[in-house]
Each structure stands twice: as C-alpha cells, then as structure tokens.
C-alpha cells in the first residue's frame, strides 16, 4: 500500500498494528478507543491479521493477558482509554518491571468524576510513573507511524520495555485524515522478529515476576529505572531508522519557529496543530513566537527539551491535566525540574487548557501568547496556573 488515503485515525492505528504482524491482541472496548478494537477484531475474523484476538471482560484482564502472551515471545498489542487505563494501573507497573515489550495505544480521555468521555490528558498523567516508554502523537499519521516505531523500540534487546502511544481521543481517534500507511515490505525490514531475553517455555522453565525481598527490591527498581533512562539512545536510533525506511522524520522533541523565539509555548498532542496556525499569524505580525512539543514524555528528554527552548525570554507551559495539590501541573513540574539543572532561566507561565473536551481555540493560544508578551524577564516566583477559559 502506498499513497495517502482518507482514513479514520483509529482505523489507521489498527491497520498499523496489523502490519506489524502481531500475534496476540487482548483488549476491552472503551470510548473513544473502541474503533481500534472493533477494527482489529474484524481484521482477525476476516483472516487479514494472523493473530489471536482475546475478548476479555475488563482492561485489568486485557493487560494481564498481554503480559502472559508477550512473555511467551508473542508480539502483543492492546489499546485503551481513560477509566480503562486506570483499571490497568497495577498491571502497568508489572508489565514494565518484568520487561514485557507490549505496545498499547491510548486514546487520551478525561477521568471521572464527573463522567466525561472527551479528550484531555488526565488518564495518562495519572500513569506517569509506571515505567513505560510514553509518546504523544500530534495527528493520525503520527499515531499510526508511532505504533510501528513502538514495536521496534519495545522489542530492542537493549530496551525490552512496554510502549504507550498516546493520541487525543475523538480529536484524533474519530477524525478522518489523509494517512499514508507504511508499506508492508518496509515494515518487515524495519521490524525484526521479536526475540525475548527471558521467555516462558515449558521445555526450559523460568519464573518471571517472583517476589523481590528487601535485599533485592532496591536493586530491581534501580535496574528498571536505568533501563528506561538508557532507552533514550535506542529511541533516537529507532526514530532515525524510521526516517530512513519510511521517509517521515520524528524526533524526541519537535520545535516550530522556536530558533529565535522570545516567547515559546510548550504543548503536547494534537493542539499543537492549532498552535502552529497561531504562531504563523503572529510571526506575520513580526512577533518572535514559537512552539516546543515534547513527543517523548517518558523517558523525558530533558537535554533535548532545554536545548529546544534556546534563549527564549518567556516560556508558557500547557498542561491538559490537573494535579490537585501539586506545586504545578505534570508537564510544568517536569519542565521546572529540567530547567533547574542549569542553563537558561526563562520566565515561566503555566496554563491549564482543554479539560474534558473543552475546545482549545486559536483565540485561546492568542491569549496565552499575550500573557507571555507581558511577563517580566527572568525567573519569578511561581504562580498558580491560569485555567484558560475558566468562568470565574
């Protein structure tokens, strides 16, 4: 298959997983991820995808099945969203600590209460510390591409960690856009067969996930944390290999007009597309504004991120989740920590936008850039984030 076709992002993600020759799919449907699971089950039923499709009774079971299947050496895919991701919580830690290279698409959606099926980043931010590699896609093309990329990274013998591909629920999952699905022959070349370091095999028994007594636990946690940190190199390698194979270039951190920018907004996910339109408009007026978009969230690419900010005078950090009682939102905390290691000290302003499906408009980005234009230079005492569009 080559050339762009008009296709819903969820269908493209399912097709991408099929192109990766997955062996096992275990998933439970949840809005707005449902179309991925439905389409994969159709692909399996039609014989287009030679995988076992395991219909489970919950997301907790879905990820448990995935742990078991990948532990036998089977390439394994799942997808979820919101409450489903929350229900997977305890198994998320196990999948990563046992070093099981599952790939999971997460259609990002708000968490209850109040019940809300629409998009924000509450679900994934609550799972920040589960030890998975986590990336955020900006559009449907990127979401589909990152699925293929994710299997290569996850199964890299130097990595062996699960990967979560985040993409905005509804805003991406249900939108039809022109997408070029990767060529199957090129996917085969890009993705070598999965060779587990340790696998469940009745002829050569091992125990995985055993108890870690106090004499072992600290070393085990450190080994896991190091594995995630040390995945940075293979992650960059896989982005480069992807570019060579498929001609689309992805990096750990994307920038837009950031080189000489005095004011920079830090954005994650699909709202960056609206933000680019606003940057173009303000650039036409002669304003030096730009964007920095971390694609890789875990391990956080602190060096690439700080370099991308360059010499910006004012930086606005956009969070799409609330961390009640925290000093700042999850992204803002990360940015503050990254900047605290030295180098430039821009004036930081924090925003919370687009909660539970609230549209983030061009006017919202203008108002945030207006804020940045007014902040005094240099580090200032942190203020609580501005909830953009909040009725006060």
């Amino acid at each position: 298959m080559s050339g762009r076709v008009g296709i819903e992002a969820s269908i493209a993600i399912a097709e991408a997983a099929g192109l990766c020759d997955v062996d096992v799919i275990a998933a439970y449907p949840i809005t707005p991820q449902t179309h991925i699971v439905e389409h994969l089950s159709e692909m399996v039923a039609d014989g287009r995808c030679d995988a076992a499709f395991v219909p489970v009774e919950s997301e907790h079971s879905a990820l448990s099945v995935c742990c078991g299947s990948v532990a036998t050496g089977a390439r394994t895919f799942t997808a979820t969203s919101s409450q489903g991701l929350a229900l997977m919580h305890e198994i998320l830690f196990i999948a990563s600590a046992v070093r099981l290279p599952i790939v999971m698409a997460v259609a990002n959606r708000a968490l209850s209460a109040p019940i809300n099926i629409w998009n924000d980043h509450s679900d994934v931010m609550a799972e920040r510390d589960v030890g998975w590699i986590q990336v955020f896609a900006e559009n449907g093309q990127e979401a589909a591409d990152l699925i293929v990329w994710a299997f290569r990274v996850a199964e890299d013998p130097r990595v062996l960690l699960p990967v979560m591909v985040n993409f905005d629920g509804f805003i991406l999952s249900h939108v039809i856009e022109p997408i070029e699905l990767p060529d199957p022959e090129r996917v085969r070349r890009f993705l070598p067969p999965y060779t587990p370091a340790v696998k469940l095999d009745v002829d050569a028994p091992v125990s995985i996930g055993p108890v870690g007594i106090p004499e072992i636990y600290t070393e085990a946690r450190y080994a896991h944390a190091r594995a995630l940190q040390d995945a940075a190199g293979p992650i960059a390698d896989a982005f480069e290999a992807f570019t060579w194979q498929f001609g689309r270039c992805y990096r750990t951190v994307e920038t837009y007009e950031a080189g000489d920018a005095e004011s920079i907004l830090v954005v994650m996910g699909s709202i960056a597309e609206t933000a680019m339109t606003v940057v173009d408009e303000r650039r036409r007026r002669g304003e030096k504004v730009g964007l920095v978009r971390p694609r890789l969230w875990r391990p956080f690419p602190a060096d690439d991120f700080v370099a991308a900010l360059g010499g910006a005078r004012a930086v606005g950090i956009i969070d799409r989740a609330v961390s009640p009682g925290a000093v700042a939102g999850p992204v803002a905390c990360e940015v503050r920590a990254a900047l605290s290691r030295g180098g430039a000290r821009p004036a930081l302003t924090e925003f919370v936008v687009g909660l539970g499906g609230r549209d983030v408009s061009e006017a919202d980005f203008h108002s945030m850039f207006d804020d940045l234009a007014q902040v005094p230079a240099g580090p200032a005492a942190p203020r609580p984030p501005r909830f953009v569009g909040l009725r006060e």
Binding site: R99, P210, I216, A220
Partner: protein, 98 residues
C-alpha cells in the same frame, strides 16, 4: 546478617528479575524467620502423618522406622500449623529462646 558483597548488584540481576534456574526457593532458608519450633510428645504421636500433609513448607517427614516426624529446621518457619492440626494434640510450639 549476610555480608553485602554476597548479594547481587543491580547489574547482575537477570532482565525483569526473572529466576532462570528452577529450585531457587531451596537456597532461601525460611527457617531464619522462626520464633518457635514444634516439639513432639512421642508417647501420644500415632504417626498418622497429618502434620506432614498440612506443613506449608513440606519440611516434615517421617523417615522409615521413625515414630515421630522430624522437622527440617532450615525451612520450618515456626507457623504452628502442624500443632494446630495434630489429631492427638501431641505437638507443642516451643519458643526459640527456651
């Protein structure tokens, strides 16, 4: 207390802290947890073997020709299940200090 140098460094752990060789539980002497051990009144013991079946560690055996079971104190945790289940009440748990 074991010496620190006897224990694996983080880099020595198998990927995902898997156990690659079966039987590793044998190397871990749960007997170190024990605060009491079972003692048999041989006159009341009928050699029925109930205690050997209930022992969660499988560390009680009645060797051929023996009248009462012998606990393997490397693994006996002192849980007292044998004493609780004994049909004739001939097992008592005795504190380690005594």
């Amino acid at each position: 207390v074991e010496r620190q140098s006897d224990r694996p460094r983080w880099i020595d752990l198998p990927v995902g802290v898997a156990i690659l060789t079966p039987g590793s539980a044998r190397a871990y002497h749960t007997g170190s947890w024990r605060s009491a051990h079972p003692v048999w009144q041989a006159a009341q013991c009928v050699s029925c073997g109930v205690c050997t079946i209930f022992c969660p560690e499988g560390c009680l055996t009645i060797a051929g020709g023996q009248a009462t079971p012998e606990p393997d104190l490397d693994y006996c945790k002192g849980c007292g299940i044998c004493a609780h289940e004994c049909l004739t009440g001939c097992i008592s748990m005795v504190d380690e200090e005594e």
